[in-house]
Amino acid sequence: MTLIVPVLALILIGVVQLVSGTAGPTTEAMTIGYVDQIGGFQQHSTQGNITLVRYDTPNDATAALIKGDVSEYFVIPSDYVATGMVNLYTLQRQLAPSTTVAAVISNFLTDNLLAGKVPAETIARIETPPNLVSIRLTETGAIAPEQGGYGNLIIPFVFGILLALSIIVSSTYLLQGLGDEKENRLIEILLSSVSPRQLLTGKVLGIGAAGLVQVLFWVVSAPLLLSLASSSIGGLISTIQLPASFVVLAVVYFVLGYSLFAVISAAIGAISSGSREGQQLIGIFTIPMLIPLWFTSLLIFEPGNPAWIFFTIFPLSSPVEVIMRLGVSVIPVWQLAVSIGVLVLTIVGTLLLTTRIFRVYLLMYGKRPGIGEVLRNLRAG
């Protein structure tokens, strides 16, 4: 997975370049009919590739539509100026009129309504609304080095998804390993060589280090891929930035997220009778981790909602949540501090609790203890 992600990105860039090199203009010539029940809508009947043809009655237009002379037609009712209603008739089943057609019809109506009354330049401006560019300033009034924009969502969101995937893969791996060690009794040799705490810590550190290597590799390869992508694809990609603060936080949350799930997997691996049962139990913990991914669109449109603060601090969801929020807004320092603090405490706490039950349950084969029994052993251990 460490290598696959950059390689896939590289392939994707290549494919986009290839496709964009061969693809031609996309809008083809089209004829749209209309019925004018007000009168006077006769000018500007050519809009780009689309030609508008007038029919006297809706029946004529319907006949033309069925014959295939026009792809669709619309009726300008006599009370159009008062109500703004226009009906569009088509043989296609569509969710909404296509944006091109909607724009053509809208421009045609505006052109005819305003023709002769307003200067042509003004009409052109009305048809093309202002291009709003937001520029973020720092507190001193200078232009901030980190600007917003949709381009900035991409890297955090990709990293968020990758983190979630990697955690699922690595916890599965750890569960599988522990399950195997239990099943083939290697665990007895391991425990006669090292203490349960050493074994547990070793597993967590190993998985944590794997997370570190993975994220470092991606973080290093991301700017290279981005510069490659922006030179060949351009557009949105060229606006993507990879600020240092994001890189640092990504590394911190990758390592902490990996470690937390490693400890949880180890605990589950210890108490479950086999690796399959472990997979089911770990689901309880991976679902909260995935919650930020489910609410991606809400996060984009409501970045200020206090619910995100909860997910930022709740240790199971915080790694993915923080990385994704970084793309949308600035997270206050106190939230980051609390979030990292809670995460570290959870890891240490779970580690201590797991050590207590690790020794007892690692040697119990074939049967899963009830929750009451686990709690009793936690107290006794």
């Binding site: 007895e188 040799i189 006669s192 090292v194």
Partner: protein
């Protein structure tokens, strides 16, 4: 100094006492037999000696040192149901598990190669564990249990699944360990292996010691008063013999309470009988086992 000293260990799981006030010791250079019926508490006892689980009370000392993380490197263990990392290569497996016992990579590799050579497994050292046959896997597992030169080696059913050649090989290696003054504890249901290799045994049942001590002495205690005789010609009436049981090549003479084997031998010699074999019958350990365990299960 004794290699292992187990004193008054007790272990219970969820109110069930599995090992109850068990004490024994194993000397340096001794192969010690640990026997008992299934569920007697053997594995639990072994796990306590290997510091895998802790006794509820009582102590285990290795060469006078109390069992702790520091003494773990002196322990070698071959568990009953075994397996190694299936995808790992033979040499890597041995070196990795030796490194957990605090052996550095270079020495571990050197010693692993030496043991592989001794067992004739050297050509297989780059094979993956899953490519080995069951018996070969077992030999590797044995190497793992001794590669770090432990003071105490516990082998749980080490002969299961071995062919006669490997069985002999393993016996030879156990004798080597004895010569190196290591303590070896052998837990098995194969009574003939115990009789062949062990000087002293401990038999446990229901978590308690039921027989403990020198094997020959134990067998003498359970001896029925009889002799095995292989003689030429018709035997006829022998005074003091209450019954004669015929076997394939020999007869078993059951003596009455007032007669000793010596008296019978003297009588036969004085009669001029040609004797090819005269042996005081000791019961096989198997019989002792059945007698002791059978009694406690009645």
């Amino acid at each position: 100094m004794e290699a292992v000293e187990v004193s008054h260990i007790v272990k219970s799981f969820a109110d069930k006492v599995v090992v109850s006030d068990l004490s024994f010791s194993v000397g340096q250079g001794e192969i010690f037999g640990l026997i008992g019926p299934n569920g007697a508490g053997k594995t639990t006892t072994i796990r306590m000696m290997m510091d895998i689980i802790r006794p509820d009370s009582g102590d285990v000392t290795i060469l006078g040192e109390k069992l702790s993380e520091a003494t773990k490197n002196k322990l070698g263990y071959l568990p009953e149901e075994r397996g190694l990392y299936r995808k790992l290569r033979v040499l890597d497996s041995i070196v990795y598990l030796a490194s957990l016992k605090g052996v550095d990579r270079y020495s571990a590799e050197e010693r692993a190669n030496e043991l592989l050579k001794q067992t004739g497994m050297l050509p297989h050292k780059t094979k993956k564990i899953e490519e080995l046959s069951r018996g070969m896997g077992q030999i590797i597992q044995f190497i793992v249990s001794v590669v770090h030169d432990p003071e105490l080696v516990v082998l749980d059913e080490p002969f299961a699944g071995l062919d006669p050649v490997n069985r002999d090989l393993l016996k030879g290696m156990l004798s080597n360990l004895r010569n190196q003054r290591k303590a070896v504890i052998l837990s098995t249901h194969q009574m003939n292996e115990i009789e062949e290799l062990c000087d002293r045994i401990l038999m446990i049942d229901h978590g308690r010691s039921v027989l403990y001590g020198n094997l020959a002495e134990i067998k003498a205690t359970y001896r029925s008063n009889s002799v095995l005789l292989e003689a030429e010609g018709e035997l006829g009436e022998v005074p003091g013999v209450s019954a004669i049981r015929a076997h394939k090549d020999y007869v078993e003479l059951l003596l009455d309470e007032n007669t000793t084997p010596k008296q019978v031998l003297e009588h036969l010699v004085s009669r001029g009988t040609t004797i090819n074999r005269f042996e005081v019958a000791t019961p096989p350990l198997n019989e002792v086992f059945l007698k002791v365990v059978g009694k406690s299960h009645e």
